[in-house]
Amino acid sequence: MNQSNTFWRVALLALPLSVFALIIIWPLLSSFYYGFTNWNGFSDNYDFVGFENFGKLFSDRLFMSAAINTIIWMAIAVVLPTILGLSLALLIDSHVPGGPIFKTIFYLPICLSAVVVGQVWVWIYQPDWGLLNSIIEYVTNDRFNYAWLAKPDSALYSVIVAWSWQATGLSMVIYLAGLTAIPGDLLEVCELEGATTWQRIRHVILPLLTPATVVVVALSVINSLKGFDILYIMTGGGPFNSSDTLAMHMYNESFKKYLMGYGSAISVVLFLVALTIIRLYFKQLKKVDEIYG
């Protein structure tokens, strides 16, 4: 019996684990290796350059601005989809008529490709006939044609807003799942005790939603690191690299300039950042699990 169990473990795990190891683990580890070379993407010859690539990161002005932009993106990703998703979940959870339809509407963007989302939002920001400028013109009754995506001051933030539009639906359904787990009698007791709606939300619902908040915040941060497609479509990191993120900078250095060694060094940084966040996330999940069961 025991022997046959071992046989089946090996037999069933062999294929999935070897595919995973070959396509995910091995490339991950060899990224570190290439980070120490000056490989150009095509030639069979390359040299080891030691820590040169990693040293270059600190003097690379574009890397620094990409790192800052990534942090900005993360910070907004924590705030915007979380608060919006929570508000929508609370509103929908109040048994409002048409709740399921609203849920579908807010969730719909998630099934769209970032390519399509990017393109749609390019039209919203379009200076001459875009929706945003049209609304501003309508309200102020004055000519307005600010090019949101072509100005270094606003390009990054415009993209993040578009990204948040798509990310909000996920936060909302996670919060909705958390809300259904709160026992109805508990809320009834609050009502009988004379708690106002605001007190109920502030002192009962929000604390009980902590596990959902941990998930929402962590996923937002992790997904913001992955934000590449929509940026590529909307600004391509421009104008003048003002909206570059680490993922974008890594792509540019590797596949535009063919500095694959340097690109690998950037991806190593990206990996370490992601690893830190994921470890924090798992730790928080465990803590929350212990408290809330």
Binding site: S4, N5, W8, R9, L12, P16, L17, V19, F20, I23, I24, P27, L28, S31, S87, L88, L90, L91, S94, V96, P97, G98, T104, F106, P109, I110, C111, L112, S113, A114, V115, V116, Q119, W123, I124, W129, L131, W165, I174, A177, E191, G194, T196, T197, W198, I201, V215, L219, F228, Y232, L246, S254, G263, S267, L270, F271, I278, Y281, F282, L285
Partner: protein
């Protein structure tokens, strides 16, 4: 925050006599306004696709059209390149979805029903794979497939999406198999069945809902993917639809109506999957997220 704040003082300190309660109406109006704002981008594409480029350039994109113009759809649907893009995307998405679910089922079964010393750690390692940005493995995979001569074929995309799907598929299948009662498996084994028979004849039939969840999620993600085709394809014949969309944007640079029709046609398969299997979709998203 204004939305939640406005909920406050719904039932004040004193017990008011039963009368008209404005809050459901206020909440409905709040949600309705937000819903319109949320739908505006999608609605814009829809509007653009039935207008001529001239109308759009004149600033009429956001107005309800007095007459429908179908020329954009005719143009896109009669373009043979678009047929190729759609076919390629399907040829990548269908097998990669099936393979990743198959591999995830195998791994999920072991992690759930045949745990071993250290299996939790291996499981955690596999699952954490879904959180890393894909840029981390981009360069070595590019080199690998380049050496194998597979660049500019569909194979790298099928292989990579199969592998990238393993974490979420393993996670969901393991969680689902955990609900299959152990005595059921033990009874079958005593009757002389082996693990493969237990998996295919008992566990899998019960797990069809989980497979439906994974199929909708995986198909949507792979269909919508942009990064991997961008790296792995070079010629127009091998492009997937999302890459084709970007490429054709250059070709029809100011033909916004055509771009709108194209976006809609490219999104149609995932929209259909979403509208019909929304329940599965949401379940998968929350399960994958919460139990992660």
């Amino acid at each position: 925050m204004a939305d939640t704040a406005s909920l406050g003082s719904a039932s004040g300190e004193y017990v008011a006599p039963k009368r008209f309660n404005p809050w459901p109406v206020v909440i409905f109006i709040c949600l309705f306004t937000l819903a319109i704002l949320f739908l505006a981008p999608t609605f814009g594409v829809l509007l653009s696709s039935v207008k001529t480029t001239r109308d759009i350039a004149l600033g009429d994109l956001w107005a309800i059209p007095s007459s429908m113009y179908w020329g954009n759809y005719v143009e896109v649907l009669s373009n043979p390149a678009v047929h190729g893009y759609m076919l390629n995307t399907f040829l990548v998405a269908a097998p990669a979805t099936a393979f990743s679910i198959g591999l995830g089922t195998l791994a999920g079964y072991v992690f759930s029903k045949l745990p071993f010393k250290g299996s939790d750690l291996v499981f955690l390692l596999v699952v954490s794979g879904m959180f890393f940005p894909p840029q981390v493995i981009l360069i070595p995979l590019f080199r690998l497939f380049n050496l194998m001569g597979l660049i500019d074929t569909l194979w790298p995309m099928i292989i990579v999406h199969t592998a990238l799907g393993i974490p979420i598929c393993t996670l969901l299948m393991r969680n689902f198999f955990a609900t299959v009662p152990n005595p059921l498996r033990e009874a079958a084994i005593l009757e002389g069945a082996n693990e493969w028979q237990v998996l295919t004849r008992i566990a899998l039939p019960i797990s069809l809902p989980a497979i439906a969840v994974l199929a909708t999620l995986q198909f949507t993600w792979i269909w919508n993917d942009f990064l991997w085709p961008l790296i792995f394809t070079q010629s127009d014949e091998k492009r997937t639809i999302m890459l084709g969309l970007v490429f054709m944007k250059g070709q029809y640079s100011v033909a916004w109506g055509i771009q709108g029709a194209m976006s809609l046609i490219a999104s149609l398969p995932t929209l259909i999957v979403f509208l019909f299997f929304q329940r599965f979709f949401i379940k998968g998203m929350t399960m994958g997220a919460v139990k992660g």
